[in-house]
């Protein structure tokens, strides 16, 4: 081979080498300089992972702090990664047989990165999935809520599948119960698995706050038992009751029956309603107490003033028809309330005129109490500018005014607390709100207390008598409005009482709706229920 050939070949090899080297440098230039940020972020993304951890939802406890009303428990959910499924037909057939809705979802989302088969699997469903032994079906552990006291369910509410509060305390206190997530930056490589090399806190988040209620869980259970029994005995549609401490406004029990257990997968949404605070209705004669209080405050009547009740069940006042449950002749005003005579109270209310509305509003009717429950009923008091000639008569015995059972308890708490306005509270962290000055004169309050005591001793509240206790009570039976017309067969029976012994005071209110009992009155339906609740309450609170 000539020296020229060798030189040519060497030159070719040299230039090929130089060319390869140039290509290498060009690539390096592109990777290191032009696309440096892209490749750097790609590396960082593989190396650094942001982990978000939501704190466990806070528990809800009763006033003792030891009885849990809502807590967490773990559950298993099953999911698929549709785009990575090996043998689609096997999975599809299994789902079609066991989880038809998941099968149809999988059909629509063949290339999805994640698909739940079912969340919160039952034991049977979990067994079915584990026995199937398919690597494409994955299991995921999640937490869901657990409610140890089902009777408190309408009050506590429930959460949805993502643990977001949807009703009751769970909804109102959702932010406190949830907290905010903790964010951490983890440095790890492909082989480190669950472990990391370095941890950096990005956001410490906030811990969930446990919620303590004023509810006494045992009392709640005892009241619920009585309501269930009342609904069964009287074939009633529903019943509700509240026990309130008039000194602090603490609600010790707030029950509704029937209720539904949120832990039951087939729970009935209708029975998740908290009726005592969210339903308003015309209270009937129980409101005579407040018409009487207003009249006493305005000096429109004296407790011993004789009122002519016309000894009839039906009469007309100013041309307006008025009926009462039994005839009474000329009786003292205190007996008008004790025996619940509509004709007598209507005559006294006429002396008050539109002022009766001012008094009702002062007692908290027609406005929300502000309790920590969603959808609280505002109630309604017919304003004087919308009155008919009948209005003042109707308002005196609890019609043309609608209120919730909670508002009734609040108004009775005012009498029990010597005229001071007490705001009911459900959260122990809320401040006790009692008006500094009494809204009513001491004489008016004392007079109405005497009248209510008489009602228990010899009036419509006789069934509320409790040996060793001073009981001030009143009942009310009201027709319900069905499509704008009063249905005389569908009544609401209400009873309210103040139970007192020394410094111990409790307000107990209850209603029973649509009892299927002939010739029923609140004194025969709601009052015995109230008495039994009161008896259990004083035994539980060791006040004998």
């Amino acid at each position: 081979m000539s020296s020229r050939t060798i030189a040519t070949r060497s030159a070719v090899i040299f230039f090929i080498g130089i060319g390869c080297y140039a290509i290498l440098w060009c690539n390096l230039f592109v990777i290191q300089l032009l696309n440096s940020s892209f490749f750097a972020s790609l590396g960082t993304n593989q190396y650094r992972i942001t982990m978000t951890k939501l704190p466990e939802r806070g528990p809800i406890v009763d006033r003792t702090g030891s009885a849990f009303l809502a807590t967490n428990r773990s559950c298993i959910s099953a999911f698929l990664i549709p785009k990575n499924i090996g043998n689609k037909s096997i999975v599809q057939n299994f789902l079609k047989e066991q989880f038809p809705t998941a099968a149809s979802r999988l059909k629509k989302n063949q290339k999805a990165s994640f698909l739940y088969i079912k969340r919160r699997l039952t034991d049977t469903e979990l067994e079915t999935i584990t026995s199937f032994h398919n690597p494409d079906i994955h299991l995921l552990e999640e937490t869901n809520r657990f409610y140890p006291l089902p009777s408190a369910a309408p009050l506590i509410g429930f959460t949805n599948i993502d643990n977001v509060g949807c009703a009751g305390i769970e909804q109102i206190c959702n932010e406190e119960l949830t907290g905010t997530p903790l964010k951490m930056l983890l440095e790890k490589d492909a082989r480190s698995g669950y472990f990391y090399f370095h941890k950096e806190l990005q956001d410490s988040g906030t811990q969930s706050i446990p919620i303590q209620l004023t509810i006494d869980s045992t009392l709640q259970f005892l009241v619920d038992e009585e309501l269930a029994d009342a609904c069964k005995r009287f074939h009633a549609v529903e019943a509700s009751a509240i026990i309130l401490d008039p000194d602090t406004g603490d609600i010790l029990s707030l029950s509704s029956y029937p209720y539904t257990n949120p832990d039951d997968p087939q729970f009935d949404f209708y029975h998740t309603k908290q009726r005592a605070a969210t339903e308003q209705y015309e209270l009937g004669s129980v409101l005579k107490v407040f018409a009487a209080l207003a009249a006493l405050e305005q000096n429109a009547v004296k407790p011993d003033e004789l009122i002519n009740c016309q000894n009839t069940k039906k009469c007309t006042i100013d041309g307006r028809p008025i009926t009462t449950w039994t005839p009474h002749g000329i009786i003292p005003f205190s007996d008008v309330i004790a025996f619940s005579n509509n004709i007598g109270i209507a005559q006294v209310a006429k002396r008050l005129g539109p002022d009766i509305v001012t008094h009702y509003e002062k007692l908290g009717f027609g406005k929300k109490t502000g309790i920590a429950l969603p959808a609280e009923a505002r109630g309604f008091v017919n304003p004087p500018d919308k009155w008919s000639a009948q209005s003042i008569i109707s308002l005196s015995y609890g019609y043309e005014i609608s209120a919730s059972l909670l508002q009734l308890a609040q108004a009775f708490a005012l009498i029990a607390h010597d005229g001071h306005f007490v705001t009911p509270r459900l959260l122990l962290s809320d401040p006790i709100t009692v008006s500094k000055k009494p809204l009513y004169r001491t004489e008016s309050i004392e007079s109405i207390k005497d009248i209510l005591q008489k009602t228990t001793e010899r009036g419509t509240g006789r069934r509320a008598q409790l040996k060793g206790f001073t009981v001030m009570s009143k009942t009310g039976s009201a027709n319900t409005l069905v499509n704008g017309v009063y249905d005389h067969d569908k009544n609401i029976y209400t009873a309210a009482a103040i139970i007192q012994k020394g410094s111990y005071k409790r307000v107990v209110v209850t209603f029973v709706k649509q009892a299927d009992v002939p010739n029923a009155f609140a004194s025969t339906i709601a009052m015995p229920v109230l008495r039994r609740i009161a008896e259990k309450m004083v035994i539980h609170e060791r006040m004998l």
């Binding site: 849990f68 807590t71 967490n72 428990r73 773990s74 657990f146 140890p148 006291l149 089902p150 669950y194 472990f195 990391y196 090399f197 869980s217 045992t218 259970f221 409790l466 040996k467 008896e535 004083v538 035994i539 004998l544």
Partner: protein, 89 residues
């Protein structure tokens, strides 16, 4: 001889420092992993404790306790007439 010895010592010291540094890092990672493993174990135990607690709450269901007391122990609810407060001495 002295110079050679010094160079050898210098290099070997550096190598041993390097080795110690790597060993320290390895130990650190090992301890970190052990800590993380313990954290995971703690989380698992806490989780089991929560499950047991929930089981306990479920068993403390007042309705079930009452049914048990009435059916198994033949207890009956008391009424006010059956109770009397005894005066203190």
């Amino acid at each position: 001889m002295k110079k050679t010895f010094f160079i050898a010592l210098f290099i070997s010291t550096h190598i041993s420092f390097l080795f110690l540094h790597i060993h320290k890092q390895m130990q650190f990672i090992k301890q970190s992993f052990a800590k993380q493993a313990n954290e995971q174990l703690l989380a698992k135990i806490k989780h089991e404790k929560q499950a047991k607690q929930n089981e306990l709450y479920a068993l403390q269901n007042k309705k079930d306790v009452k049914t048990y007391a009435e059916n198994q122990l033949a207890l009956k609810p008391v009424s006010m007439t059956q109770l009397r407060r005894l005066p203190h001495e």
